[in-house]
């Protein structure tokens, strides 16, 4: 079975390094993007199953990244990590089609569970469309 491909978009090098490293140690095929441009490139070259997007307070460009990713691939599962003060952005993100959101600081076990759930939903949707 292929490992689940996860793309992390955090705009925070430290956090990005630790997050991708931990996800890899749990068997995910994790890569990181620093911005929406890199994320879109990855989407074309190495499409992820699940995206983990860090939402910062007062940074509309993070939501713009979500919009862009969804416009390129409406089926992509996006999990939002909401920083302190970014709850409103998190709600907006869910309205824009994100799979779910988790508050920061993020608990690794919870995130892994969400990634599996998001992936499971994709697989189920694929099976359904193949059956019809």
């Amino acid at each position: 079975m292929q490992p689940i491909r996860v793309l992390t978009i955090t705009k925070n090098e430290d956090f990005s390094d630790i997050l991708t490293d931990r996800l890899r140690s749990w068997g995910f095929d994790a890569t990181a993007a620093d911005n929406s441009h890199e994320a879109l490139e990855t989407l074309l070259v190495r499409p992820p199953d699940v995206v983990v997007l860090n939402l910062r307070a007062d940074h509309d460009d993070d939501l713009e990244t979500l919009r862009l990713l969804k416009s390129r691939n409406p089926d992509i599962a996006i999990i939002l990590l909401t920083c302190k003060g970014a709850m409103a952005s998190g709600i907006r993100g869910l309205e824009l089609g994100a799979f779910d959101s988790l508050p920061q600081p993020v608990e690794l076990g919870e995130l892994i569970e969400k990634i599996h759930l998001a992936h499971q939903r994709l697989v189920t949707a694929d099976d359904r469309s193949a059956a019809t």
């Binding site: 925070n12 430290d14 997050l19 600081p105 993020v106 608990e107």
Partner: protein
């Protein structure tokens, strides 16, 4: 009871204010209850980490170097601090549960790396 260890890879993070990851475990003083949780911090911030420690209801912290003001704050909050620990977080936790951990300890696992 809850214990928090500041971690960096498999070791205790050398500095409290530079920690980007923590492990929280529940215990009864001798053994763990359930699996420890790992939390990835969005920033290197002693203040945010202190907030997390208080909010989580942690009563013991195992860390590397820590600023005196934070040490005092935790003491005031009746949170026990084992600071200046060098070595693997797994060994630190085991020693703590056996009542064999002391502040400033250089654990045998520190020699391995």
């Amino acid at each position: 009871m809850k214990i928090l260890l500041t971690i960096q890879d498999t070791s205790i993070a050398p500095r409290f204010d530079q920690a980007t990851e923590v492990m929280i475990a529940e215990h009864d003083g001798q053994r763990l209850h359930g699996e420890p949780r790992t939390i990835i911090l969005p920033h290197r911030s002693a203040e945010e980490l202190s907030d997390l420690i208080v909010k989580e209801g942690v009563d013991c912290v195992i860390c590397g170097g820590i600023e005196e003001s934070y040490h005092k704050f935790f003491t005031w909050k009746k949170i026990r601090v084992y600071d200046g620990i060098i070595g693997s977080h797994a060994e630190a936790l085991q020693r703590f549960l056996k009542g064999q951990l002391l502040s400033g300890m250089i654990l045998p696992s520190a020699q391995d790396g």
